[in-house]
Amino acid sequence: MRALVIDDSKAMRLILSRALKQSGFEVAEAIHGKDGLEKLGAAGPFDVALVDWNMPEMNGLEFVQAVRASAGYAGMKLMMVTTEAEIARIETALAAGADEYVMKPFTNDMIKDKLSMLGLAGAG
């Protein structure tokens, strides 16, 4: 299983990557949405992308919209991991094509539970 972590914070990328690796994922990282699209272009679809909302260059919502506009990534699960906690924001992200939504701060167990809900076998 392969996961892509997209967050402009190195600390957050490290925390998420560690949680994913503990669940058996191979992990790649990107520093914003545009970098994430470039990683997808170079490495092909991942099983899941964990995406922050507020980032420079291209934010997480724009990344989700771009991925969902491409049929080649139709099977890729998208999980927003963000400080944006209002219901309206969650609805916007889900309407744009996000599959799951995790609010920061989170625990590793919350990430694992969400991965399980997405049916990702690596989540253990």
Partner: protein, 160 residues
């Protein structure tokens, strides 16, 4: 203050109270630490590594920030990154961790005030060394929290 602004604006003390509650929400899962006391800063400001996140509330945009001494900021960053206490950590990694902490606190702050301010955007964190001084143009309100073994300043900067 106009009636329109009065109906949409959270008062300044509410911002600071909400930010302090948000700190408590954030540090438990991210730092495995608890807030054991919060008190007005008075003249005992915390100076060191600080991060501020703009909260673009209509009519009352503010910056929500956290500040810790250089040593405490390094220790907080190590805890966040799950590094050993004696492992060297770079200035960039410390700033990044404190910036992300401020980001989560600002997010939780605006979420708790959503019924008053509506859905508003956050800006990106700005990390600085030192503290923002009050001026004729903006107020700086600060509370000092004891978080585990560390002293953390919770700061709200608002236009006058």
């Amino acid at each position: 203050m106009s009636a329109v602004l009065a109906s949409t604006r959270a008062t300044r003390p509410a911002w600071l109270d909400a930010a302090c509650r948000a700190l408590a929400q954030v540090v438990e899962p991210m730092l495995e630490a608890q807030v054991t006391s919060i008190e007005p800063a008075g003249d005992q400001h915390v100076a060191g590594v600080a991060a501020y996140v703009p909260v673009m509330a209509p009519g009352d945009p503010v910056q929500v920030g956290v500040v810790a001494s250089a040593d405490d900021a390094a220790a907080i960053a190590r805890r966040m990154l799950q590094l050993p206490d004696d492992e060297p950590i770079g200035e960039g990694d410390i700033g990044d961790a404190i910036g992300e902490l401020a980001n989560m606190i600002a997010g939780a702050t605006k979420a708790s005030l959503a019924s008053e301010i509506g859905v508003v955007a956050l800006g990106l964190p700005v990390v600085v060394n030192g503290r923002v001084a009050e001026s004729a143009h903006h107020s700086v309100r600060e509370q000092i929290a004891t978080v585990g073994p560390w002293r953390v300043g919770v700061v709200v900067v608002a236009a006058m």
